[in-house]
Symmetry: D2
Subunit: 330 residues, 4 copies
């Protein structure tokens, strides 16, 4: 069986998914749609697919699934439309920045018996997958303390910050999902601290750039998250899980692993400086996972419910900062 | 000039300091006192010093300084007595488990113009000193986020737990001091989460064994502390400081640095499994620092005020756990 | 400009190159030939190219370049034929196992003004490229001592060994090329030691499985090579270059970089266990390099002369083992 | 039982051994002798021992063992004298630079039933001991390939070079001993390459500064040694042993293990820059080993025969360089 795809959105991340779909032996990229015809045409030319409108893809009989890479504020609407049209949907995170909007969208997914997978790509990073596999294999016993260090190479433009929903909904949300992926239990409380240390303009836009978060589950398991919008040494993405029998960790990734030794010491190159080079394999793996699940008829994960759960934690974290107290989740 | 020492307490840590004093070219170990004569005699025999009572050391004209290694509940009294007797005092941490008792003791130290150094040995670990030196040298710019991972190889007996003042006053207090040492600003709030994951008996004794803490300074700098009373892989002691221009970290220490590679992977030995082997150099360095400061007439650090400051944070952390909110320090 | 390719040989390595050519925006895979029609048809189906005979590709007006992935004993003939046909040639190493045959082939390349690149893929590994770049940037001063550790996960079948030309011509030849790539001067002498430690059947086939080699240049620079046909921990591929101002090294690569810590120690997974996963990027980079050089009209490297030079060293190394003495190269 | 020591030679290495003997609970430093009275007096003052002449120590009834730290050309004579005097002897390497002189000395040791240990300190480095222990525990199966990288931070003065016996007898001799310690079989052939790359003055003095050596045992096991008289990044001392079931290695040691990450990369400090700080524990361990063996009546190792064996290899290595061929050992 071959899954026939329509791609909605031909921007930066759309190109990544176009490549993943085209390179997958079990998938075909049938059509692409974008508000900018030239962007769609470029992808069409490179991968030999058609340019269509969103409406045409919605109505198409030769398309089984869509990948939604359009702007965030269109995600929920498109999910609903394509679930109604009977297409399987892979949607870039987030479903929406507003919890209520996500909830109504999930209702539609449920009513239409829709198939929805949300793009928390980090779950598909081979290193993080191996961490999870080590936990599942019992190598560290019961999970007790999860530590997530997640720092961007540099802050996005303030314009982006303003539309982003804030650091918790835009950046930490990945770590909330990762904490849920690793803790083995749902977090029930969140305590967060936030400050503006990197760029005052971010503070003026009403957001933070440096945050620390503690999540706790009902049984007392804890996850610590450390975020900064700037790391001079590259894209700092580490996870570590301490358990009753041991610890498992995934170290940072760098483009080349050489070391130069001189009188000044031993120096390795900086880390990847861009999420798309850091998570190249993750992006390919998540589309492969989507296709594989569709073929097997297996449940899609991470699901819309996972997207919602992470957003609920983000909202609670913001509340914790504002009210200077521990906040119950959900 | 040679600093002439009396040693109060000939137990495990007393032996460590006896060795450090004896091996220091600028110091002499003159006498040792202990409630158990045989313990004192063993040290006297090994290092060729006298056995005396505490009163005799207090009155001695041939002793300039004392090292207090007696049980915790005697520390504050002995500090006061020896400051009054005009001896310089090195006291193992803590001064006392009760903040008010520490405050009255500090008053006596001040009134007598006493010289007091408190044994936060980790400040003298060569690796942690190098971290601090890198910060002072401007290598990472302004400090923003401090991360301290501190896990013991195994939990102490519950009897000890009961007398310890609890995990924050007994164990995390070292990390509170380290955070103060590295943050470059005083923390003003603390938020802590605590659970019993390692041993239910610890919970029955009214304490916790797994805690996560966030400290924040007035300008927004943050320190995260992760503690567990048990780590199967050894004595886990890491610090990492993220700043505006970079990051500096100190990795764990192990007795031997070999690696065995087989079909099962590449394996390095576990970490040190005991604080005394992990911090061997730190113990020697702190006594050398005490002696060096006395010789130069330099201020002693960490001081009694440092001991007090860490204890105040510990009390606030406990309050944060109980009241599920951020607590102002002091 | 687009380079139009014919692929000769649709086996394991042919598939790798088919993928690299197809995925390259500056290239098109026009046709594939293989003695086994089904192998050629599989590639044709996947990448939408034609199946042709070698003769058809030779005569084709719509093909600019070929990739030769046929059995070793056909390489020299095919190079000559396609140079005569005016096609640019990328040929998997080796050109031939016999130095004289390589020399006559090189003569034809020269007479026909042919364009030939030989597939020493390791020169295109991003980590080894970074080592070379560090040398070229002057980071270690003058090169003095090169150390190459190169061990296969396991020995090939004895049948392969018999046809391979022996360990020096089959395996160490990659390291001879790497030594030439890194030394910055031509080696002029070789001294080698060889033994059968892995598998007696290899010895019975007249070959060795464990060898140590020293190369030296006229100015005294030295390269050490350590080879084994078996490494339980994976595909061990390290290089290290010591110079007057420092050292640069490239460490081993593993599929995932996690670490599990328990009472038994800290364990990372084994290395890649297969050359095609270890050198995935190198294979893609070398085809990209071939295409890029053709487009720019730049000289192709590694050239046929590079292939010849490595083979000459291999022959000299074998002579050194047999005669128990240092042997002059060439 | 307490072993009563006389120390012959109060220079740099004499001080190291004085400290080790004094700090050992099973030993007493009774007397020290040195051609320079002030050097002997300094040690006598620090450790409370007597200053005596060599003759007095030879005749002393209160001395069981001597540590010989005098200039190299006196070693053999002193070993003979003190074996005749019935004292156990620990002698710094080498016994002598001349193989014949060592042989006659060994004869005297044998005739007098003397007890002699030679100071190959590296066998007592905890990391190298752990490598050997891993081999003995069967973790890597049969030893196949030993790789020793041994580079000094900087070349000694040319005056020293002239008296040193040359790089093989002065520097590589440690690696020859380590190879013997790790190979599990005696090497029977040596092949060496040598050059002057660091300092022309060394070449003018008739010596080399950069050498590569291959040793081979009768069964084909191989050891590779890479030496340079200069390494800008510190005292480079690594060993690696590849076997039928795996590999074990000991990495370099540095004074502090911090890492600074910036836009320029991740930098760890250089290695130790002096053999005495690198091998601090090894020096203490070897004296402890000497004392322990005397107390148990166990054979002393490394013995005079070990010292001789390494020197014989050194001579053969030099011959290999001169004659450009493999040379049989002994």
């Amino acid at each position: 069986m071959t899954v026939r795809f329509g791609l909605l959105g031909a921007g930066r991340i759309g190109k990544v998914h176009a490549k993943a779909v085209s390179g997958n032996p079990d998938a075909t990229l049938v059509a692409v749609a974008d508000a900018f015809p030239s962007a769609a045409e470029a992808i069409a030319a490179q991968y030999g697919c058609a340019v269509r409108t969103i409406e045409q893809i919605e109505a198409a009989g030769d398309i089984d699934a869509v990948v939604i890479c359009t702007p965030t504020d269109t995600h929920a609407d498109l999910i609903e439309r394509f679930c109604r049209a009977g297409k399987a949907v892979f949607c870039e995170k987030p479903v929406d920045l507003d919890v209520e909007r996500v909830r109504t969208c999930m209702k539609v997914v449920k009513e239409t018996n829709g198939k929805l997978m949300v793009g928390f790509n980090r779950r598909f990073d081979p290193h993080f997958m191996a961490v999870r596999a080590a936990i599942d294999a019992g190598k560290i016993g019961d999970v007790e303390m999860v530590t997530i260090t997640s720092r961007d190479p540099g802050a996005p433009p303030v314009d982006y910050i303003k539309r982003s929903g804030g650091i918790f909904r835009d950046m930490t949300i990945h770590d909330f999902d990762m904490a849920r992926f690793l803790l083995g239990e749902e977090p029930v409380t969140v305590t967060a601290t936030a400050a503006v240390l990197v760029d005052e303009a971010i503070g003026k836009a009403g957001d933070y750039d440096s945050v620390s978060v503690i999540l706790q589950t009902a049984s007392g398991r804890q996850a610590i998250i450390s975020n900064s919008r700037r790391a001079t040494y590259g894209y700092d993405q580490r996870i570590e899980v301490h358990g009753s029998k041991g610890m498992v960790s995934a170290e940072n990734q760098r483009p080349v692993s050489i070391e130069v030794a001189t009188g000044d010491g031993y120096t390795r190159p900086p880390l990847h400086d861009f999420f798309m080079t850091r998570y190249t394999e993750a992006y390919a793996n998540e589309i492969a996972g989507f296709i594989g699940s569709l073929e097997k008829g297996a449940p899609l994960a991470p699901s819309g419910a996972d997207g919602l759960a992470a957003l609920v934690i983000a909202d609670a974290a913001l509340k914790s900062v504002k009210e200077k107290r521990q906040v119950s989740i959900g």
